[in-house]
């Protein structure tokens, strides 16, 4: 069965701190996609990144970086020099490729960045 675990329910940091959001996934499939979404207070989910199971390269986009490790089934998300605007709920999600288009979400991590 597929499953996504975000063990951190809530994280609070002070502006400019670095913060890492953890994501651990379970799947029996060898081909799959992993995602991160951001949900700001406005409610709409915003796509951040997609990574397929064959690409284990880490990715950096500005202050955001992602560490994908198949050996530990983890896809962690780091925000460097956090800002108040980063305050949101962040969801990690998994899709099994080719036999379903359904996303399986983790329970989310609420990040609060204080000034």
């Amino acid at each position: 069965a597929q499953k996504v675990t975000q063990a951190q329910t809530e994280i609070s940091v002070v502006e400019k701190e670095d913060v890492t959001l953890d994501c651990v996934y379970e799947t029996r499939d060898t081909t799959y996609y992993l995602f991160w979404y951001k949900q700001p207070p406005s409610g709409e989910l915003v796509f951040l990144i997609r990574r397929n199971s064959f690409d284990e390269q880490n990715e950096i986009s500005g202050r955001y970086s992602w560490n994908f490790q198949k050996s530990t089934s983890s896809f962690n998300f780091t925000i460097t020099a956090s800002q108040v605007v980063d305050s949101a709920v962040y969801f990690c999600a998994l899709i099994q490729s080719y036999n379903t288009d359904k996303l399986i979400f983790g329970t989310g991590t609420r990040l609060q960045v204080f000034p």
Binding site: Q6, T9, Y33, Y37, S42, G43, E44, L45, F47, R50, N52, F91, I95, S97, Y98, T100, D101, K102, L103, F105, G106, T107, G108
Partner: protein, 116 residues
Amino acid sequence: DVKVTQSSRYLVKRTGEKVFLECVQDMDHENMFWYRQDPGLGLRLIYFSYDVKMKEKGDIPEGYSVSREKKERFSLILESASTNQTSMYLCASSLPIRYPRRWGYTFGSGTRLTVV
């Protein structure tokens, strides 16, 4: 600007009422989804549709039904609303995964439903 539009941002209904939540997308996507979001539980799939008039149950379909008469519109129906259906409802659409370069979910802004 492509988007998914949910007809209501906030909705208050009485127990036992029949409730319709509407979702429209303008991206010509085959797939449409209804999720429910509750604190501590993340997003849970209620129903999805991969074509007009086609539907499949998700993880928590009990108490809900759906309708997809046109490609762009996917309606979630609460046949007899109950207080345990108070929640945030999110609609999404996507192309099929066989288009990996263009694949991704686009979400609506959500409808916060309160059943009293």
